[in-house]
Amino acid sequence: MSADTVQNTTNTVLEEGTPVSTERFLTFSSNGLNIGVSTNYVIEIITNHMITMLPLVPDYVKGIINLRGQIIPIIDIRLRMGKPSIDYTSSTCIIVLNINSIQIGIVVDDVQQVMDIDQSRISPVPVENQQELISGMVSSDMHSVILFLDCERLVETY
């Protein structure tokens, strides 16, 4: 699917004549939301990994995994965004991200696809619907909306 086929957004008017800069995003679903993360950050997608729990940490920090000798912390994106947790199924995945050389794995319900998205079509989240960790949104075809994960925010120190 190409993002260029989508013509019914308000942003198309502004684009005419300007060079199109697209970025590639990996989309996944979590708690019914479609969320995209730039593939620049994605290292790999793994399934069925044994997570070692850590004590005395917030519940969204699921623990750490041993990925070929590297220790990678895992957070559950549902819990991180304040959504209820569900049991992990066979489609549950861990997306391993490298954000400014901090490696982190996020648990998501399901991985969907990789798509090119024109960056200029990404619009900010309406103020009244502001949500932590979401940096922008874009509407795709099939009447769905893709939210963008604010990766830097994810690993920010508190």
């Binding site: 044994m50 070692t52 920090v61 750490i64 041993n66 990678i72 912390p73 901090i102 982190i104 508190y158």
Partner: protein, 711 residues
């Protein structure tokens, strides 16, 4: 470029460190040996050359002037200086090396170099003038030389020298007294490589020399220059020239060579004849050729010194290479992986119940090799503490001058090897303790010491020894010791006492010294008493997993002991299970593990469980409760108690089961997790077990704090 800068910094720092050691040693003997002078000259020359190459002009200038100074000293012999001059020279040299070091630090921190170095240069120059003025007999030649050295423009009355200078505008060095000009056979080609072969041959025969053009190894265009002007070799003494000629004669395709004397006299010697060198030929064939770097008239001490020189320096240079620490780290990490993977392969469940004689044989061999590999990889990171210890010499020396106390520093066991990261992190604590000893430990005056029946000269002993998995570093002085009453009074004033003063034992009183906000000295001195004191030292030592204790006897002196693990990268651990989780407890912390009965467990006033071990009561920490882990083992009789001890904390951990002892490779937790204060929850790191699972390593000290912070 970065790489070159790194090399430059490494080289310069090493030279400065060596120089410092040399100066300290020389000052102890109150005299320079000819060898020292040569060594300083050489070091300064290298620093000057490389600084010029890197375009650090301040460094180059300072080094250049020191070089000039020592050139003068070398030429005129050490006898030309009297005692007071020598003392002044020591101070001047320490000043200069400090100036150099501070400039190097600026480079390291990417700060602009200071532009005002006049004062140090004036100092050097005025000293040079002073010693040259005091020597009346050879004043003529001196003034000539001084003129030449003081302003780096050459007298240039010699056309030949001028040619050299022109060619070598980039190399600010041509104050060597002798030059050999070599012309190669016409049309022999590759002149620069031929020249380089001569250079190598000369180096092999341990000569000290310079050569122009000096880029023959790398720059093929230099061959044209050589064809045109010849290849120049600069030497510092007549003797060198002779041995050099000996070498040159053996080279192929050298058509002619001539010796040119720099400075006032010019003597063209076309084709110096082969004979008249009976003495030198034997000299250059034997290794003592290096002695020729020292003036011939100093031969009385030179042979022995030269022998020392070759004995000490040459092998060191050949057997050491410097490697980036991060490369070593990744090597150690990969070796750790190999060890783990090896046991994953050999204990793979797929191989169960199979009879595989050959496989098992190979597997055993593999295990042996990986074990060896691991040992070697670990030993790569080990460095002797000598470097850190030697630095203390300088601190003691400086403070001795400032405080006017006569103190000697005795170093024991400086070859003890410790992990590199640990060596780096103990430097500051040791320095702080040594300063404390100098400042507060040793008596103010020699009279006080004599009155106390002690040697007027104070002594600080710095020692390092191994004990199994730990290294013990102790810093002791024979000074006045610490007065427990004074410490107690001070602590009371500062309000850091937690119980009535009379309840404190001697040991507890000394431990007060290491609390934040305690400094026994009222006034701030240059060296200590800045408010940050032993508490910082304690924190630094504990950050590398060490402990620190102070003992002191009033009037006899005090002793600070640091116990530090040899390495933090590998540890012996006891695997324990709690529910589905696995934890590793460092064996070093475990005193005992035992089963207990319900009736032995006592509840204290606030309902916490305590148990009696060897006549003392210790709290029980249930790991499953502390960490909220679900487990079936909640009855104290079903699980097992592990009596652990760290620093001054001692308690019992309640876990489900012991799984066994294992050597583990310690991995730090991912930096992301430091957001959650994971370090204060009693977990210091993790390790990957043979089956690929992760086990968390418990930090016995912080776990105790985590337990009490819960309530």
């Amino acid at each position: 470029m970065d790489n070159m800068l790194e090399m430059y910094l490494y080289e310069t720092n090493t030279l400065l460190e060596q120089l410092d050691e040399l100066l300290i040693e020389a000052e102890k003997n109150k005299d320079f040996t000819t060898n020292d002078v040569n060594e300083i000259f050489r070091s300064m020359h290298t620093i000057k050359g490389s600084s010029a190459m890197m375009e650090f002009s301040t460094l180059m200038e300072i080094a250049h002037h020191i070089e000039d100074l020592f050139f003068y000293i070398r030429e005129n012999g050490l006898d030309s200086m009297d005692e007071s001059h020598k003392n002044e020279l020591f101070n001047l040299m320490f000043q200069s090396t400090d100036a150099l070091r501070s400039e190097v630090e600026k480079i390291e921190n990417d700060e602009p170099l200071s532009t005002n170095i006049d004062s140090i240069i004036t100092n050097i120059n005025s000293f040079l003038e002073k010693i040259s003025a005091s020597e009346g007999s050879s004043s003529e030649s001196n003034s000539a030389k001084e003129e030449k050295t003081a302003d780096s423009t050459q007298p240039a009355d010699e056309q030949k020298i001028a040619v050299i200078n022109q060619e070598l505008a980039g190399v600010p060095k041509s104050d060597l007294p002798y030059f050999i000009r070599i012309n190669f056979e016409q049309g022999s080609g590759m002149e620069h490589l031929r020249a380089f072969m001569i250079v190598t041959a000369l180096k092999d025969s341990d000569l000290q020399f310079e050569f122009y053009p000096n880029d023959v190894e790398t720059n093929s265009e230099s061959s044209e220059v050589i064809v045109e002007n010849g290849f120049y070799i600069g030497l510092s003494s007549n003797k060198d020239v002779e041995s050099a000629l000996h070498v040159i004669k053996e080279q192929n395709s050298v058509e002619t060579y001539e010796v040119i004397e720099n400075a006032s006299l010019k003597q063209d010697k076309p084709e110096t004849p082969a004979p008249a060198q009976n003495s030198t030929s034997s000299e250059s064939s034997s290794d003592s050729g290096s002695a020729s770097a020292s003036p011939a008239q100093k031969s009385s001490s030179a042979p022995a010194a030269a022998h020392n020189n070759t004995g000490n320096n040459t092998p060191v240079k050949q057997s050491l290479i410097s490697v980036n620490l991060s490369k070593l780290d990744s090597l150690v990490a990969i070796v750790g992986e190999i060890v783990i993977t090896e046991s994953m392969v050999t204990s793979s469940p797929d191989l169960q119940n199979l009879k595989l004689d050959n496989f098992m044989k190979s597997a055993r061999q593999l295990r042996k090799l990986t074990d060896d590999l691991q040992d070697i990889a670990m030993s790569l990171r080990m460095v002797p503490v000598a470097g850190t210890f030697q630095k203390m010499n300088r601190i003691v020396r400086d403070m001795k001058k400032k405080l006017n106390k006569d103190v000697r520093l005795t170093i024991i066991g400086e070859n003890t090897e410790v992990d590199k990261t640990i060596v780096d992190s103990i430097g500051d604590p040791i320095m702080h303790i040594v300063r404390n000893s100098m400042d507060h430990g040793i008596e103010e005056t020699a009279e006080q010491r004599i009155a106390a029946g002690k040697d007027p000269q104070g002594e600080i002993i710095l020692s390092a020894t191994h004990t199994g998995s730990e290294v013990i570093i102790s810093i002791s002085d024979d000074g006045q010791g610490m007065d427990p009453d004074k410490i107690l009074a001070k602590a009371e004033r500062n309000g850091i006492l937690t119980k009535p003063a009379y309840e404190y034992s001697q040991k507890e009183i000394l431990a007060l010294l290491m609390l934040p906000g305690f400094s026994t000295n009222e006034e701030v001195t240059e060296f200590s008493g800045r408010g940050v004191g032993m508490d910082v030292v304690k924190k630094n030592v504990e950050s590398v997993g060490g402990t620190i204790t102070i003992t002191s006897e009033l009037g006899k002196g005090s002793c600070t002991t640091l116990k530090i693990p040899l390495t933090m990268a590998i540890a012996d651990g006891m695997e324990v299970s709690v529910g589905n989780s696995m934890f590793t407890i460092p064996i070093a912390n475990i005193r005992q593990s035992f089963k207990t009965k319900q009736e032995d467990v006592i509840l204290d006033a606030s309902g916490n469980e305590i148990i009696k071990c060897l006549d003392d009561f210790y709290p029980i920490i249930r790991v499953h409760e502390l960490y909220n882990i679900e487990t079936d083992v909640t009855n104290i009789e079903d699980g097992i108690l592990i009596w652990v001890e760290a620093a001054d904390k001692s308690y019992c951990l309640f876990v489900d089961d012991l799984l066994g002892e294992q050597q583990v490779v310690v991995k730090p937790l991912p930096p992301f997790l430091s957001n959650f204060n994971i370090k204060t929850s009693g977990i210091s790191g993790c390790t990957i077990l043979g089956d690929g699972n992760i086990s968390l390593i418990l930090d016995i000290r912080t776990l105790y704090a985590a337990f009490y912070n819960q309530y």
